[in-house]
C-alpha cells in the first residue's frame, strides 16, 4: 500500500511540478506576448512558430496557456491558503467551544447548502470580475467544507488522552490549542486543502467560462477555453489544449492529496469524508 501511495505521490508531484515550472517560467519561456494582437494571423493552425496555434485575436495560444496557468495556479493557491486559514480557524473554534459550534456551524451549513459554484458565480458577478474577486468568491464557497473537516479533526484530537490530561492539569487553552490540538489537525487540513486547490482550479475555469472570471485580456485557462468555444470546429486547438493543462494540474493535485493522505495517516479517511 505504501509503495502504491508513493507512486501516486510521485506522479502527482511530477505533473504539478511540470505545470508549476512552466507557469513560473512563463515570462522567460513563453515565445510571445500573451496579450499581443495580430489580426493578420487570426485562428492560425499550429505550426513551427506558433506551436499551439493562434486565437481569434491572433495571439499565441501557447504563450497564453503558460501565462494563464500562472493565473490559475495563483488563484488556486490563494483559495487553498485563504480557505485553509479561515476554515481552519472556524473549525477550531467550533470543535473546541461547543457553545459556539451550534451557531457557527449552522451558518456554515447554510453556505454549504448553496451549490458552491452557484454561490461563487453570484458573488463574482456581484463584486465585479477581477482576480481577487474570484479568489474571494471561491474562498467563501469552499471555506465551509474545510471548516467541517477541521472541526472533525479537532473533535478527534480533543478526545485524545494526552489532550485530556493536559486539560486536567490546567494548561491554558491558547497554549493547549497551539501546542497539542493544532499540530494534530494539520495533516488532515493540508490534505483537504490540496483537494480544495484542485477544486478551485476547476471552479476558476467555470467562472471564466460563464464570464465572471478575471477580465480579458488576462489569460486564464478557463478564459482561453471560453475564447475558443465558438470555434471548436475551425480552431479546436484553442479550446482543447488549456483543457489538457487543467486536467494535468487537477489530476496531479488529486494524486498529491491521495499520496499525502495515505502517507500521513491511513485512518484519516474517516475525517476526510
Amino acid at each position: 500500500m505504501r509503495l502504491f501511495a508513493r507512486r501516486n505521490f510521485l506522479i502527482g508531484a511530477i505533473l504539478v511540478g511540470l505545470v508549476l515550472a512552466a507557469a513560473l517560467l512563463a515570462g522567460w519561456i513563453a515565445p510571445f506576448d500573451p496579450v499581443k494582437n495580430n489580426f493578420r494571423n487570426r485562428l492560425g493552425a499550429p505550426d513551427d512558430i506558433y506551436l499551439l496555434g493562434t486565437d481569434r485575436f491572433g495571439r499565441d495560444v501557447l504563450s497564453r496557456i503558460l501565462h494563464g496557468a500562472q493565473v490559475s495556479l495563483r488563484i488556486g493557491l490563494a483559495v487553498a491558503v485563504l480557505s485553509g486559514v479561515m476554515g481552519g480557524i472556524i473549525g477550531l473554534v467550533c470543535g473546541w467551544w461547543r457553545g459556539i459550534d451550534a451557531w457557527l456551524m449552522r451558518v456554515m451549513d447554510g453556505l454549504m447548502a448553496f451549490p458552491g459554484l452557484l454561490l461563487a458565480i453570484a458573488l463574482a458577478a456581484t463584486l465585479g470580475p477581477s482576480e481577487s474577486t474570484v479568489m474571494i468568491a471561491l474562498t467563501v464557497a469552499y471555506t465551509p467544507r474545510t471548516a467541517r473537516v477541521m472541526r472533525g479533526a479537532v473533535l478527534v484530537a480533543r478526545a485524545q488522552d494526552y489532550v485530556e490530561a493536559a486539560r486536567s492539569v490546567g494548561v491554558r487553552t491558547a497554549r493547549l490549542l497551539w501546542r497539542h490540538v493544532v499540530p494534530a489537525c494539520t495533516a488532515p487540513l493540508v490534505v483537504q486543502q490540496t483537494y480544495v486547490f484542485a477544486i478551485a482550479i476547476l471552479a476558476e475555469a467555470v467562472l471564466s467560462f460563464v464570464g465572471v472570471g478575471p477580465p480579458p485580456p488576462q489569460p486564464t485557462l478557463g478564459a482561453i477555453i471560453a475564447d475558443g468555444r465558438d470555434n471548436m470546429v475551425e480552431a479546436p486547438w484553442i479550446a482543447l489544449s488549456p483543457g489538457v493543462v487543467i486536467a494535468m494540474l487537477v489530476l496531479g493535485l488529486n494524486l498529491l492529496g491521495d499520496g499525502l493522505r495515505d502517507a500521513l495517516d491511513p485512518r484519516m479517511r474517516r475525517i476526510m469524508r
Binding site: R56, G128, D230, N231, A235
Partner: protein
Amino acid sequence: MLRRRSFTAGLTAAASLPLPAIAQSVGQQGRKGGDVIVAMTAAPPTIDAMATTAQAARNISMHMYESLYTRDEGANPQPELAEGVDIAADGMTYTFKLRGGVKFHNGKPMTSGDAKASMERYAKLGGSKDALKAVAAFETPNASTLVLKMGSIFPGLIEAISSPRAPFVIVPEEECGKPLGQIGNIGTGPFQFAEYKPDSHIKMTRYDGYAANKAFDKRDGYTGKKTPYFDSVTIRIITEGGARTAGLQTGELHVLETLDVAAAKRLKDDKGIKTYTMMPWAFLTLMMNNNWGLTANPAIRKAIQAALEVEEIAAIASDGLYRLDPAWQYPGTNYFPGDAGLDAYVKQNQAKAKAALQAAGYNGEELQVICDSSIKWHLDTGTVAAEQLRAAGFKVKLNVMDWPTVNAARVKPEGWNLWPLAMGIEPYEGPYNVVGFFAGSAPVQIKPDPVIEDSNKKLATQLKLDDRKAAVKAFQDRLYDQAIAVKVCDIGVIQATRANVMNYAPYRTQRMWDCWFA
C-alpha cells in the same frame, strides 16, 4: 385643411440602404407546412414588443405584431396596418386611415380604438416613446381613422413610429391597460403566439386568418404582401455559437440569426447550407466621456483617435466582416453626410498620438475603459483598443463587467473614459436616434455639446429634407472636430439557412413569412 400627399414620395426621395440584391424568385410556388426552427443568440428580456429595444425581442415580435407604418427593404417608411397618412400642411395633424378587414389573433377586428389605446400605452412605456412627445392627443373620429394632434411640429414622426427599434405595435385595446412585461401576446401578424419557454424557445403558429396587405404585390422589408407558409415557427435560444453552427450542420436548426464568420468560411462548400451576408449591419463605435478625467480634454481625445488602428479593431471584432467607413450615416442613405476629408481622422498615427499626448502634458493618469462581456463585438473592441492605446503610451485600465454593470457605469458622469458600443438598429432607422444619442438630457458623451444640441433640434423641427441633412452633416463634423466619439467601422453579419429553406431573404431579423420548405 388637409393636403393629401404620399408620405414616401414627399419625404424620402430615393433612400435605399445598400442591401444585398434580393432575389425575389418569381414563378416559384410556396408550399404550406412544416415547423421551421430558428436559432437566436440571446434570450429576450421581455416579449412585450413595445417595451424593449433588444434585438432578441424583435426577432420574435416582428412575426406576431404589426404597426401603422413600418420599414421596407430599403429601410424607408411604408404603411402596414394603415392605408396611408394625410399630413396637414402645417405639420400639426396626422390622419391615418386604417386598413379594413384586419383581425387580431383572437378574432377581434382591429379598429381605431385599438390603435389609439396602443399608441397611448406606447407613450407611457414604449422603448422609443420620445417619438410621441410632440403628440398632444390621439383622436378616433370613426372606427377606421386615427388622428394624431401634434402639440409641436415634428417632421420625423413617421420615420420614428415606423421604426422597428421598439416597434409601435397595435394590440387589442383590452390589453393596453396591462403593465410592462405582462401583456397578452395578441397581434395581427402572420404568425400567432403558441408557447414561450424562457431560456429554451418560443413557438408561433401560422395565423390562417391573416389579412395580407393588398397594396403590395410581394414582401417588402417588414411590410408588403406577407404570406405565412410554415405551420409553425420555433425560435430557439442557443447562446453557444459552436452549438448553433453544429445544429445548422446537422439540420436540427433551419435558420440562424448569425453564423460565425470563421464557420461560414469553413461551410461555404457545404451544399446543405445557404449563407447570406448583411453589410452594413451596425456601427462599431467607441464612446468617450467628454466630462471626466483624461477624455474631458479634446487634445487627449484626438490623441486617442490617432492612437487607434481602426482596421485592426474592425478585423478582430467582426471576424473579418467589416467595412471601413468613418461616416455617421450609411453611404447611399438619405441623410448620408459624406465622408470627404475624414480619411485623415481615421488613419492610425502613433507618432502623432505620442506627440499630442506630450503636448497635452499627459501625466500617466489611467484611461478607464469599461466594456461588457456579453456582446463579443464590445469585448473585442475594448480589448484591442486597450492594447493599442497602451502601445501609444497611455496607461489603460480595461474594466470588463457584465452588461447591467456597464450600463449603470456608463451613465454616470464620472469614473469612465471609453465605452465600446455596436449600434445596430439606430443607423438603420436613420439619423434620429444616432444624433439623439448624443443630445438631450442624458447625452452618451455626458457633457452636452451645443452644436449637437442644435443639430438635434433642427433634425426634429426643420420641414425641408435638405435642412435636416445639413443638421446631420453639422453633427458629424462636430464629432470629428472635437473628437467626441470614435467611429470604428461598419460591421456585417452572416445569416444562414438550410438549403431547403426556399425564398429566404436576409433582413434585420429573420422573416419567416414568404419562405417555405422545398
